[in-house]
């Protein structure tokens, strides 16, 4: 049964100071029907570029150097402009991080939701507004009959994100890409939004690509997790395996830096250094400058992404070894 969305060996480059820079390289991931895949990594690791590439929304100056993106088996690159427009927003939809600025300030919420219906299902204006009210109720917006006429600035952050979700769910898409949907929201609203996404996934069996830098969110939501660093995939595993026994030092250090309730530590654990910008990716394994277990081999050669029998993937020369520094408590 074909995947809802499959990205194979995707490589995207942007114009750099001297020549083009590869922002993401050889990225592969697939999302099955009703599956939530978490895409995790620090900011600047290429998560958003991957998402935007899937929606064919990359800036004009970007270039897909390699790789194929298939939505339910159909290669997005092969679609004509008209076909792409009918797919985007209908079969594959996206919600963004900043609810405050993602809605057009000059149009009513109901209209912006209805617009998708009019564009894809050819509904009349009045019908689309009526349908929009239903959608708003479905995403948990109280008395939607009034709210439909509100302007974005009259709604709270949480409400706006629900409107975004209503907009995305308008044509019950097969795949929903959520690019850090709750980062800008406070914790209580965050939980409601995530619960909403899970319920919509249960109702429509859509695939969800949940992009976040918050491992806590991933733990509660995702079936499988993909860890990205400096444009490359470092590790992929079912969520429980990843948390139980992560094979990549970067994943382990990420997990260690999550504050535990009830565990008293003087100082929160930090990974030293910062993510390198695409123009200055180090040679060899791109994590080696910050990796406590880095060897000469790590410093000179990029490890390949090995696929293990159980389907897990890891890109590290020393994944088999034990007693590594990164494993210490």
């Amino acid at each position: 049964m074909t995947d809802a969305l499959s990205i194979e060996h995707l490589t995207v480059s942007f114009p750099g100071p001297r020549d083009r820079m590869r922002v993401i390289e050889d990225v592969s991931l697939s999302i099955g029907r009703g599956e939530i895949v978490g895409l995790v990594g620090e900011s600047g690791s290429g998560k958003s570029v991957t998402a935007l590439a899937a929606m064919r929304l990359l800036a004009a100056t970007a270039q897909v150097d390699a790789g194929v993106i298939r939505l339910q088996g159909r290669d997005l690159a092969a679609l004509t402009k008209k076909e792409l427009l009918s797919v985007r927003g209908a079969e594959i939809a996206m919600i963004f991080q900043e609810p405050m600025t993602s809605l057009n300030p000059l149009f009513r919420a109901g209209f912006q939701i209805g617009e998708t219906l009019q564009a894809h299902l050819g509904l009349s204006r009045r019908e689309s507004i009526k349908r929009a009210v239903e959608l708003m109720r479905a995403v948990g917006i109280p008395d939607p009959e009034q709210r439909v006429a509100d302007y974005p600035h009259q709604l709270s952050g949480g409400m706006r994100q629900r409107v975004m979700i209503a907009m995305a769910m308008a044509c019950s898409p097969k795949v929903l890409i959520a690019d850090e949907p709750t980062t800008a929201l406070d914790v209580t609203i965050q939980a409601q939004i995530l619960a909403l996404v899970r319920r919509l996934r249960d109702d429509t069996a859509m695939g969800v690509l949940l992009i976040t830098h918050d491992l806590g969110v991933v733990a509660g939501m995702a079936n499988r997790v993909v860890v990205m660093y400096a444009g490359l995939i470092m590790e992929e595993a079912p969520v429980n395996d990843l948390f139980a026994r992560s094979l990549h030092p970067y994943t382990r250090l990420l997990l260690k830096s999550i504050p535990r309730v009830g565990v008293k530590t003087e100082r929160l654990h930090q990974i030293s250094g910062t993510t390198p910008p695409p123009s200055r990716f180090p040679a060899g394994c791109r994590f080696h400058p910050r990796c406590p277990d880095a060897t000469d081999q790590c410093r000179n050669h990029i490890p390949a992404l090995e696929v293990l029998p159980d389907g897990r993937k890891v890109r590290c020369w020393r994944w088999r070894e034990t007693g590594l520094m990164s494993m210490a408590a």
Partner: protein, 311 residues
């Protein structure tokens, strides 16, 4: 809304009072007076000059003249023109009252659509040949002073091609060249701003959302982006209209149109104080009315403003 309107009108009052005082003082500082002009270069007859000055009350101290003038204003009497003996100022201005605003309004109605279309086009094709080309045309439109533009247009269209009359103000054809010449710099200025605002809007998140929803590029640009460009453009229209009024001064001189602009200049040169005062007040009023209209329109276009205004 009425509270808002009242507040704006009250805000206008000090500006008007300041305008009156400043112009009145300026007029008196300027050497020479209407009598000098009236007698022309055959002046010098001291007896006659004293008699005429007395008749027009110019021999009284300035403060007395000011009080007399302001009390006249209170009664709605703008006084008599010096240059046209016995003719009330309102009469002198009446015919010209709506020529200049008409010219300015027509120029603006021409400039807004063209300006915005050009600006958006340049923004959409940023850094391509089209963008540079449009920028060059716009900047040229802004850089050629209107008196030079007028000279070339009159020579070309009126004389060589004979499409339009050279000057005067009788048929609608007389209005075409002046309006076009006024519209060109206005359109160029608007286009440049529209380009900048459009570039800014295209970077916004909601444009990305619109695209993510699968809307056609046409809808993304002309519905979602353009509406947001209109908001800042509106505020500029107020400024541009003020600039147009100035532009009418030069255009009216060249095309021999008896509008407010020309009367303003002639009245200053002829030291026709009451007419100058009245016209300056009119210009101040125009300026305030335009700004107020822009604010109201602002409220219509941008809900964020309207909601606050009412509260």
């Amino acid at each position: 809304m009425t509270a808002y309107v009242l507040r704006r009108l009250l805000g206008l009052f000090p500006v008007l009072v300041a305008a009156i005082i400043l112009t009145f003082a300026a007029n008196r500082f300027v050497p020479g007076d209407p009598i000098t002009i009236m007698l022309g270069d055959q002046g010098g007859n001291v007896v006659l000059e004293r008699k005429l000055r007395a008749e027009y009350g110019l021999d009284r101290p300035v403060s007395v003249q000011f009080v007399d003038y302001v009390s006249g204003l209170a009664r709605g009497d703008f006084g008599l023109s010096f240059r046209y003996p016995g003719v009330p100022v309102t009469q002198v201005i009446k015919d010209a009252l709506w020529i200049s605003p008409l010219l300015a309004a027509a120029a603006l109605t021409l400039a807004i659509p063209i300006g915005i279309a050009l600006g958006v086009l340049a923004a959409l094709r940023r850094n391509t040949l089209a963008d540079t080309g449009i920028i060059l045309i716009l900047v040229a439109g802004l850089s050629i002073p209107n008196f030079a533009l007028a000279a070339f247009f009159v020579w070309g269209f009126a004389l060589k091609l004979g499409w339009f009359p050279v000057a005067g103000w009788t048929t609608w054809k007389h209005a075409v060249l002046p309006v076009v010449i006024l519209a060109i710099p206005a359109a160029a200025y608007l286009a440049r701003l529209a380009r900048t605002f459009m570039l800014e809007v295209l970077q916004q998140d909601y444009v990305r959302t619109a695209r993510a929803k699968g809307l056609s590029e046409r809808l993304v640009v002309w519905r979602h982006s353009l509406r947001n460009v209109l908001v800042p453009i509106l505020t500029v229209c107020g400024l541009i209209f003020g600039g147009l009024i100035t532009g009418t001064i030069v255009v009216e001189t060249i095309f021999n149109i008896p509008g407010l602009g020309r009367i303003a200049i002639e009245s200053i040169f002829a030291r026709d104080y009451p007419v100058t005062m009245a016209i300056v007040m009119l210009f101040t009023l125009f300026y305030a009315v335009i700004n107020f209209a822009v604010d109201v329109l602002y409220g219509l276009v941008d809900p964020r403003i309207r909601v606050e205004a009412v509260r």
